[in-house]
Symmetry: C3
Subunit: 115 residues, 3 copies
């Protein structure tokens, strides 16, 4: 899989309490991205924030009833990123999804398929 | 609030120990961004790093005297992002603030105002 | 050090278990970036994800045998970012490195060198 060169950074802002088909939405999205063959994805848990529902969530105050913000970041070529947008469209009920242009300067993996 | 289309990603790099008017700067910035009507904001706590003061902070070594790096990310249209920059200019004493072009492909919320 | 204006955001996606010369790779990269004079760097630990080796890592399931995803973010002018790429090329055995255009709107530090 050759992906060096121009690509897209996909950022998905959701909440930790969001769910999809009985499992956490973030986990469902990561499994979908892997199934669709993306190069990688990282789920980051914010410690505070607000989003589509405009409440302030914070790890300090709401430790027991957390709905902290989650950001999922993935980088790949534009074709593969655009291909998963319809699936995200189904899965994300509340949140924000954006794309940025990036230049992929290095991609290395130990898997069997060579670039 | 219609924000799909071209937008800006705002990234604010500060320290966990920074304060503004008696409260943590990150919290003060999040409250300001919500007050100004931004679509959302996420505060991410790094586990290690260095910044405007060039020391290395790490969650492993300095667990008791933490000044870990903080990143605040927010996405909205350019007008709303630019409107909050003068307020950030007042609040951030040390740190780095940058903007990147993004394409907002999805924004969904459950609030009363429709897009 | 004057860095306001057009710059680059460097994003390095690696794994928490990656090592370089006997220490964690993320720590080695942060030390290198500081040695090379970059304005700052932040190491963020994901709670879940997959990457160059395509396994799913999660803080929930694999708490004892963690190889969680790590993202390192740094912002500086293009010249300084490009200067460290050959060093990253030596250090990163598995992972993805990308650059995005940013506009640095504020950089403030308390150090002795004035901008």
């Amino acid at each position: 899989m050759k992906i060096e060169g121009p690509g897209k950074l996909l950022c998905i802002f959701i909440g930790e309490a969001d769910r999809w088909e009985g499992r956490p939405l973030a986990e469902a999205i990561v499994l979908m991205l892997r199934r669709e063959g993306l190069a990688g994805a990282t789920v980051i848990r914010g410690v505070e924030g607000f989003g589509a529902d405009s409440r302030i969530h914070t790890a300090h105050i709401l430790r027991l009833s957390e709905d902290l913000p989650i950001v999922i970041e993935a980088v790949d070529n534009e074709e593969r990123i655009r291909a998963i947008l319809p699936k995200l469209d189904e899965m994300v009920q509340e949140g924000l999804v954006c794309l940025a242009d990036v230049d992929i300067v290095m991609y290395r993996h130990s898997g069997g398929d060579t670039s």
